[in-house]
Amino acid sequence: MKRFFSLVKINLKTASDDFSQNLNFKKSDTKLKLIGKKLLVGFLIIYLLGIIAIPSSYLIDSFIKINQTNLLIHLLFLITPVVTLYFSILSTPGVFYFSKDIQNYLAMPFRSWEIIGAKFVTAYIHSLIGLGFMILPGIVIFMIKVHPDILFILLTFLSLLIVPIIPLAVSILIVVILMRFIPFFKNKDLFMYLTFGLVFIPIFFIGISSGAASSDPEKIEGLMNAIMNMDNTAYQYFDLFFPTSKYLSQGIIQTRLLPILAIFVISLTTLFVILYITESFYFEGVLSITESSSKKKRLNRTKRDAYLTNDSKIINFLKIDIKNILRTPAFVINYFSPIFIIPIVGIVPILITDMPDNLGNIINEVSYHFHELFYAVSTIDHIQIALSIGFALGFLISNFESSSNTAISREGKQMKRFLSMPLSLTDLIKAKALLSILISSFLPLLIIIAATIILKPRIITVIMFGIGTILGILVVVLTGILVDVYSPSLSWDTEQQAIKGNFKQVLVVLPFMFVPVLLILIATTFESWITLMLVSIGSILLITLLYRQIMKLAKTKLVETVQNLES
């Protein structure tokens, strides 16, 4: 057991080192700088917890008003295992297959169950930390507002310790089987793409279908009665995806220890059975894992020459950056998924539920408001409105993707190689800015095309909307790049760390979350579109300042940062 716990400790230590590396705490930092950084991280943690706590508080209040607090516990156990399953299918390959430690462990005198068991415990602790961060603020507020008895609180925490076990075990089973029996899954990049598709799509449709299940007339009637009677029994009309969660939830609500203990025993048994079954498959699969495959096929002259193009400096960088992103699942998922997910999440439910009526109604409604807004005002107001809405849209959408605020970070230690070449880092940054602008423009462009076809606006409206969008995108993209050029996270081992552990992303998003609020405040205070137009024009000034500052930092601070990067 001593060896088992040492393995768990090493796994956890490696993960915590990665985390602290991403926080940019350096041994060379002065005491004052270190305190400053810690205060900043503390502030960001409080801020993030606040983002979760404030809506949770409103939600809890509304459930207290209708006396359905038990439903909150039930919903918690509806969401928790699905979220755990989602994230663990994405993270299990990294922990079990693509971590670079497995070759070392296999060469040491560890028993196979010690390796697989330690990896499970590591994944389990990570799940608990992630879940804790997401749900603890809400639970604390619940305890304060609802005042449940001590047994209720203890049973809740005990159940939350139990609930991730089965989803984690299921994800291990799925991943091990895929890796063992389907050879092409052994390619890391391909696996990440496919599992992202395999995970996101089912989870999305579970969401849609759970909405459909609640359209069962008997259940709806029961639910309505429970709400009307305010008897705290509405939870009985919601099915849970994992049956074990249902008993945990009921055990807490009815403050009965027995069903919770039973589920604990069932969860552990399931886990041991799954680990026992998967053990041999795991070790057979893990030894033939590859980071990427090779064809060893000679290029013919035509194909080879097609690769050899004479490009300008910026296009040369742009091309390698695009290839780097497209061939790295962590980048693709983070940079492009919002572009695909937003339209899917927005449009699919409309299409599924009474498509022709709903879509027709929505188009009519939008068209009515659009014509009311644009044709009832003067041309100058018309231009201002289009510009301002475009600005807000560009601003909003470019905040969803993170290609700009990880533009330099995604190069990692490779940045050192650029320093030995006769090139200026300013050209590299220009190419990266151009790429982020292109990525951010994709969705607004679709919206402009769709709006032009459906609403048939005047050409001046489209042009001003487009200009506004570009301005909004430029402000966000350049701010993101400025933050990353100022302090890039270049010391990472896996691409995921370049994105997820990059706390500076929050710094970019943090002030921007208040911009729409500010715009509304200005609009309502001054009741004139001219103010918003001034904001848009002011952004041109900001864009110029940002650009100049980035170019200055690229020649000075960024070069210094890369030079001081440890190999």
């Binding site: 050899l308 004479n310 290839k323 490779q414 190689r417 320093l419 030995s420 006769p422």
Partner: protein, 253 residues
């Protein structure tokens, strides 16, 4: 196939001139301590020293990856701090770890590097054909560098360096991981370049390689240069000792 090498603006003076450079890490550890040496045209210079001697730090300062705290470095007469881009056009560098650009295919990497150095299409094709055949890597050009073995990565980095036909080749442990045939070919390339008046500076641990290849050697340990000159002259100073023993004797501080 014989490759036509074009002259790339070799000025005929000292290729690399290092004057009193120092590098200190974290304000405490002196990695390179006030060293000076030169690399003349048409010579191969071996940079030799034990692990942690300061070899990579020195090469990184010459190539601009690190900035020296004090002193000057001139590449083909150009000060590296005053005109970094022009000085970097003079050399090609292969780092000790060839783990860069792993997501690119071999051919894409070579095209990228060729474009960075502004190589025209015809020359680019000609050089890629010649060097990929010479180092036996033609079949791997359509694969990603990430799928290459260490030796293959080393080869593609070497070709990336040769593609712009620099006046100076700077190589950090270039022979590590190369198969015997490629190792032989690389050594032949190095010799051939010196015949054309170009220079090679490379670091190595393998004394036998230095003995067979180098016109001059520079021995460094603990950031200080302990010997510079020909290997023959060094051997003459210690006639009773083997090459290995001489190295141990010289680096004994």
């Amino acid at each position: 196939m014989e490759l036509k090498i074009r002259s790339n603006g070799c000025k005929g003076g000292t290729m690399i001139k290092i004057e009193n450079i120092t590098k200190t890490y974290n304000k405490t550890f002196v990695a390179v301590d006030n060293i000076s040496f030169r690399v003349e045209p048409g010579t191969i210079v071996g940079f030799i020293g034990p692990n942690g001697a300061g070899k990579t730090t020195t090469l990184n300062m010459i190539t601009g990856i690190l900035k020296q705290d004090t002193g000057d470095i001139y590449i083909n007469g150009i000060n590296t701090l005053e005109d970094p881009i022009e000085s970097k056009k003079q050399f090609g560098f292969v780092p000790d770890s060839p783990d860069s650009f792993l997501k690119l295919k071999g051919i894409e990497y070579l095209n990228f590097v060729a474009n960075v150095y502004g190589i025209d299409q015809e020359t680019k094709i000609q050089r890629i054909e010649y060097y990929t055949k010479l180092l036996d890597i033609e079949d791997a050009l359509s694969d990603r560098i990430g799928s290459y073995s260490h030796g293959m990565r080393q080869k593609i980095m070497v070709i990336g360096t040769l593609i712009h036909d620099p006046n100076i080749l700077i190589l950090d442990e270039p022979l590590t991981g190369l198969d015997p045939k490629s190792s032989f070919n690389l050594k032949e390339i190095m010799k051939k370049r010196t015949e054309e008046g170009k220079s090679v500076l490379f670091s190595t641990h393998v004394l036998e390689v230095a003995e067979k290849l180098c016109d001059q050697i520079v021995i460094i340990n603990k950031g200080t240069i302990l010997y510079q000159g020909t290997l023959e002259a060094l051997k003459a100073k210690h006639p009773d000792l083997s090459l290995e023993e001489i190295f141990l004797e010289v680096t004994k501080i």
